[in-house]
């Protein structure tokens, strides 16, 4: 498994099949059991799961496309649509919930003018909600890309967003 990389921003439907092929062979030994981790690697590379990559993967490891689609839609981390340059994960876990995460989320909705799972028109942000990132003691918690922001007050949301282009 490769180490988490920074999110790539050069989104494109053009899939580098040679690179994909090598990755499936080398990192995941073409093993069906690694399907979920292969999808994660594809998503790290393209920031979402481009369909051409999935059809290629299907033929390569011999799993029907319908099964791949099933897995990609069952697990909540996967996105079949391109996502924004910055991914915001607002924690809606219980500890954050009782400390007002819902209000923070509403604030995000308002200032970005998008709902959960959506991307802003300028492609700057995608808003996702997660249920606990394991930093409950610092709730409410919000993660932007790989940066964790703890104890955020409702009126600090804009300041945090301002740090990301």
């Amino acid at each position: 498994m490769s180490e988490a990389q920074a999110i790539r921003t050069d989104q494109t439907d053009e899939v580098d099949f040679v690179e994909l092929d090598t990755m499936i062979d080398k990192e995941f030994s073409k093993d069906k059991e690694n399907l979920i981790m292969i999808l994660q690697a594809i998503q790290r590379r393209y920031n979402y799961l481009p369909k051409p990559a999935l059809t290629y993967l299907s033929a390569k490891i011999g799993v029907p496309y319908s099964k791949i689609y099933e897995v990609a839609t069952f697990y909540s981390t996967f996105s079949l649509e391109p996502r924004g340059r910055n991914i915001i994960s607002i924690c809606l876990g219980t500890a954050c919930h009782v400390r007002g995460a819902e209000r923070v989320r509403e604030r995000l909705h308002e200032s970005l003018n998008i709902a959960d799972g959506q991307t802003t028109d300028d492609g700057r942000f995608t808003l996702e909600s997660v249920r606990c990132i394991g930093c409950c003691s610092l709730g409410p918690v919000m993660k932007v890309n790989e940066d964790m922001h703890g104890r955020i007050a409702t009126d600090e949301v804009e300041k945090v967003l301002g740090q990301y282009e």
Binding site: M1, E3, A4, D31, K32, E33, N34, L35, I36, M37, L39, Q40, V63, K67, E70, V71, F74, Y75, S76, T77, F78, L92, G93, T94, A95, C96, H97, V98, R99, G100, R103, E106, R107, V130, R131, C132, I133, G134, C135, C136, S137, L138, G139, V141, E146, M148, H149, G150, A153, T154, D155
Partner: protein, 634 residues
């Protein structure tokens, strides 16, 4: 080097002990688990490294979660012959000054100092001389062991978290690590290992509480390609002990799995880590590589013919994959749908072979049990719940953090002594245990001891150890709605009672929270709840109604206030309350007016302000900001 014997471990241990207990420089241990990093520990670390690079007198090191998350970033500074001092809230602006304060022996930054350590020994090293016994403590600094947060703690699963650098196997070994493996491998028969675990009374820490020794024995009985799996999916929101153990002491889990493998007879191990824990994965990968380097994983372990490999798999954001059969399906690269357990996974699990699945904390407890014996472990706790349990204190509590206490300690002690009660003098309402499968325990049961049976008697469960404290500002109807909303998203959808039942219950609760509750709703919720409990396939469904049923049981008045009076007493359900300014309490400081994003508050300086209901969106910013409790919920 390949480790062959206890002697080899001793050599490494003696070499490394110095740096843990008698460093020849000033050693600065910065708590660098995810929570510490989120609080700014990485910046402090970088700052310290830059400031003291080239300074031979200071070594900057990382360690895992020190536990007292509320005070993070935590930094422990030690030097041979001086007290070990824990500094709190050491952000990058403070780190250099804190280190200088220690170096000069001033200890003047009293407000930054949490305490000094009297006994820095963990559970593995009984009999070893107390390394700081000869150091005279510094006067005027409290002892950590006497601070309520630490005083009742007994660290077994967390024995190394915050003491060692998790990326250095030698430090694990220096604290007694891998000696349990060598003992199990070379001196014990498989049955003796299992008997020891049985005698310890250790029960699964993942939620179900199944006796670990019995699980191992049953798995060992079945023939086939046996697998050992570690459940590190930790889906229960509000629980993060597994993350802390993996990030702070990954080898303890690896060693626990190895011992299980020796006892059960398996050569394949898997750790299923949730996707949200990238740092845990990184530390595990490092740990596995180091263990392989020492010949503690792989072929011919410690010179015997025992082989064992560990593969790490990451989840992809599905709570249900914490359930054993779903987890195994997910490990096989499939969707994580639970299956009926007519045939148990110990007989036919992963790849249809006999499979032993345990939780992270369960495995972490195993090495000390092997070293010190089952009887020692069983000497702690209550009749049915032995040993210690790690809890994560979060929500409306002053001391958030991880605590490990012997079973049988009361909830009141945990919440009010270790946790130091509810912040801002608000009133305690309930403590939620067991996550979405658990329940809310009201004040009247706070004297209950933590014990599998006793928590079940009041409608909750031990669960994985998340304890979320709720105060007067938490609406219990909203909490019930919240959990169902969570479970509706997470239900795998294959059985009707769970998929549809949860949705129907959620619809009713959403209506109640929106002021559209009707007479009979409570009874209908109870009826639906009992149906979902009885007819769902897996634990997600059968336990899903628990948060609703316990809140109805203990907080029925809140439900009735919502339904009959159309009021949300806690001020959470937006349709059922409004904010108002209490003219008697308002000092006219103007803080709320400045903060309100809608400009809904106005007034003259030093005179009571007014709130315009038409503009107010009930974001609560003023309520949180007011220092005089002048924003009232009506």
């Amino acid at each position: 080097m390949k480790i062959q014997s206890l002697e080899d471990l001793k050599t490494i241990s003696q070499k490394t002990r110095g740096s843990i207990y008698h460093p020849n420089t000033i050693k600065v241990n910065i708590g660098m688990a995810s929570c510490g990093i989120a609080a700014g520990a990485r910046a402090s670390f970088d700052k310290a490294e830059a400031a003291f690079s080239g300074d031979d007198g200071i070594t900057i090191c990382q360690t895992g979660c020190i536990g007292f998350c509320e005070q993070e970033p935590l930094v422990e500074i030690l030097a041979d012959g001086k007290p070990r001092v824990m500094y709190k809230n050491i952000t990058e602006e403070k780190i250099v000054d804190a280190i200088e304060d220690y170096r000069q022996g001033l200890f003047e930054k009293k407000k930054w100092i949490l305490g000094q350590m009297r006994k820095p020994l963990g559970i593995m090293e009984d009999g070893t001389e107390n390394p700081v016994a000869k150091v005279s403590p510094h006067e005027g600094i409290p002892f950590l062991e006497e601070i309520p947060f630490y005083s009742k703690q007994v660290k077994i699963a967390l024995r190394n978290c915050g003491y060692i650098d998790p990326d250095t196997i030698d430090e694990y070994i220096a604290r007694g690590g891998y000696s349990a493996l060598l003992k199990a491998l070379k001196k014990m028969k498989a049955k003796e290992i299992i008997d020891e675990v049985k005698a310890s009374g250790l029960r699964g820490r993942g939620g179900g509480g199944f006796p670990t020794g019995i699980k191992w024995a049953t798995c060992a009985k079945h023939d086939g390609e046996r697998s050992i799996i570690c459940n590190a999916d930790e889906g229960d929101p509000g629980a993060y002990m597994d993350r802390s153990i993996l990030e702070g002491d990954p080898h303890s889990v690896i060693e626990g799995m190895l011992i299980a493998a020796v006892a059960i007879g398996s050569s394949h191990g898997y750790i299923y880590v949730r996707n949200e824990y990238p740092l845990a994965v990184k530390r595990l990968i490092t740990a596995i590589k180091q263990a392989e380097g020492y010949g503690l994983l792989g072929d011919g372990i410690a010179g015997t013919d025992f082989c064992f490999t560990i593969k790490i798999s990451t989840g992809a954001g599905a709570f249900v994959c914490g359930e054993s059969t779903a987890l195994m399906a997910s490990l096989e690269g499939k969707v994580g749908r639970p299956r009926a357990k007519y045939v148990h996974t110990v007989e036919k699990g992963f790849r249809d072979g006999p499979t032993n699945l345990n939780n992270v904390e369960t495995y972490a407890n195993v090495p000390p049990i092997i070293i010190k014996g089952g009887a020692w472990y069983a000497g702690m706790g209550t009749e049915h719940s032995k040993g210690t349990k790690v809890f994560s204190l979060c929500g409306k509590i002053n001391n958030t953090g991880l605590v490990e206490v012997p079973m049988g300690v009361s909830l009141r002690e945990i919440v009010f002594e270790l946790g130091n009660g509810v912040p801002k003098k608000k009133k305690f309402k309930a403590v939620q245990t067991g996550g979405p499968s658990g329940g809310c325990i009201p004040e009247k049961f706070l004297d209950l001891p933590v014990d599998y049976q006793r928590l079940a008697e009041v409608g909750s469960i031990m669960g994985s150890g998340g304890m979320i404290v709720m105060d007067q500002d938490t609406c219990m109807v909203d909490v019930a709605r919240y959990f169902l909303d969570f479970l509706k998203e997470e239900s795998c959808g294959q059985c009707n009672p769970c998929r549809e039942g949860i949705k129907q219950m959620l619809d009713i609760l959403t209506d109640i929270c929106a002021g559209k509750g009707k007479k009979g709703d409570i009874e209908l919720l109870e009826e639906l709840g009992s149906m979902v409990q009885r007819f769902s396939l897996c634990g997600l469904g059968t336990a899903a109604p628990n948060p609703v049923l316990t809140t109805i049981l203990y907080f029925r008045d809140e439900y009735e206030a919502h339904i009959k009076d159309k009021k949300c007493p806690a001020g959470v359900c937006k349709a059922l309350f409004h904010y108002d300014i209490d003219a008697d309490a308002c000092t006219g400081c103007g803080l709320c007016a400045k903060k309100c994003p809608q400009d809904a508050i106005a007034g003259k300086k030093k005179e009571p302000h007014q709130l315009d209901q038409d503009k107010c969106i009930k974001c609560g910013i003023c309520y949180d900001a007011c220092k005089f409790d002048a924003i009232a919920i009506r």
